[in-house]
Amino acid sequence: MKTTRPPLSLATAAVVGVAFLLLPLAALLDRTPWHALPRLLTSTSALTALRLSIECSLGALALSLAVGVPLAWLLARVEFPGKSLLRAAVTLPLVLPPVVGGVALLLAFGRNGVVPLSLSFTTWGAILAEAFVALPFLVLAVEGALLAVDERYDDVAATLGSNTTRTFFRVTLPLVLPALAAGSALAWARALGEFGATITFAGNLPGSTQTLPLDVYLTLQDNPDAAIALSTLLLALSLMVLVAMRSRWRLTR
């Protein structure tokens, strides 16, 4: 890559951009009550929210994997009418305000929903809300990788007598494993941070639907220190995902 001296105005704007992104996080770390952190993060309410968040985000990831990988394969490998429309629909939750997703989920799967599963106010509801916003991350990552993989591998496997399902699991999937891991990490992180759809659809009850982001929001109203401590925890988890993805990204190079 050629090194160019950036023009001053561009460089200044870029520095402002970096400061804009990092300053709030630095402020969060600056205001974190480090000495009280062990106590604040091991309080019963924090541990309850943490456990629930881990369960729900992993549940959402499992759900996303179960339906997202086949969906990505369909988008990458099968030609059918209306495919671009389907791809747009799958991407929609990515740009849709999460609270709108929550309202939609309520009308779809609430007690009076189109499919009256009565999932509002249940942990399954929280998992569903998280999966709704996380799924596109997984689908897009895996679909992109599938499109980049040479389809002739599949053809060769077929000529060697492997059926389509076997080829998918033994040939195609291993080839896109790095992308699958990266997509999973992104989807998991998005699920972990989900707020709007969860509080709208699943409600807020400690131990059953009050995940960490909801706990942060509500705790900020009466115990800012505890809310800051929980925020720092979520920031640390997000950074871990980035670090994990970076090494994954290197492997594919």
Partner: protein
């Protein structure tokens, strides 16, 4: 390139100039108000604007949320909460003494026609009855807890909403069979909910306080005859 940099600098300078304080009475004021005041205050604002020419814009939320925001430096000219304890947590300076402008009671809301036959607080503990309350840090949640304790029942709510209107919405949508809200909320919802008396309800007291001179006019209007008439129309009890 240089010209663009100058333009950016100019814009920044303009932006900071626009932020500098003005001291003359404002034509638009901001009032932070408890969620249960949504309908009554919207009517109050229309009447106040007609009388004084001052436009009022609101931020409605749970009282505890409003006080937390004000303590973090949110700009407002006046604040009205659904209990005195929450207003007491305000750490910013008030422009004058707070004034109680209304009182309220709680009620159980159900689906229209009360199909699950919820008649007493004890019915809220029945199996299969989905109850939603406000968070205990929300005044409405605190009052509801007191009412249920006084009725000697233990309710296991399915969700704790962060303001009382969230409770009302969940019942209106049919996601919950019952919730505890203010009498005024049930009145605002009209035919969309049914209301069952909650005899053990404590009396909720609503104080308002001005945070600057511009907000005092609105607070004074609330306790004026005209302001009190509007609150009464929305089902609020007089301050004393």
């Amino acid at each position: 390139m240089k010209r663009r940099a100058i333009a950016v600098a100019l814009l920044l300078a303009l932006g900071s100039a626009g932020c500098s304080g003005e001291s003359k009475p404002r034509r638009t004021i901001t009032v932070f108000a408890a969620a249960s005041l949504t309908d009554a205050f919207t009517a109050e604002a229309a009447a106040y604007e007609k009388q004084s020419g001052v436009h009022v814009r609101f931020s409605f939320a749970g009282s505890q949320d409003l006080v937390a925001q004000l303590n973090q430096g949110a700009p407002a000219d006046a604040v009205a909460t659904a209990d005195t304890a929450t207003l007491g947590k305000l750490t910013v300076k008030l422009a004058g003494a707070s004034a109680t402008f209304a009182r309220n009671r709680l009620v159980i809301v159900t689906a229209p026609g009360n199909p699950k036959h919820i008649e007493t607080p004890a019915d809220l503990t029945r199996r299969g009855i989905v109850v939603v309350l406000a968070e205990p840090s929300v005044p409405a949640g605190k009052y509801a807890t007191q009412a249920l304790q006084a009725a000697d029942v233990t309710v296991h709510p399915r969700s704790l909403e962060d303001n009382v209107r969230g409770v009302l919405t969940k019942v209106e949508l049919g996601e919950a069979d019952a919730g505890i809200v203010y009498v005024t909320d049930a009145k605002a919802a009209g035919a969309k909910v049914g209301a069952v008396a909650l005899p053990t309800s404590p009396i909720a007291t609503y104080p308002a306080a001005a945070l600057d001179a511009s907000g005092q006019g609105f607070v004074d209007f609330l306790i004026s005859v005209a302001g009190q008439r509007i609150l009464a129309q929305h089902g609020f009890l007089p301050p004393q």
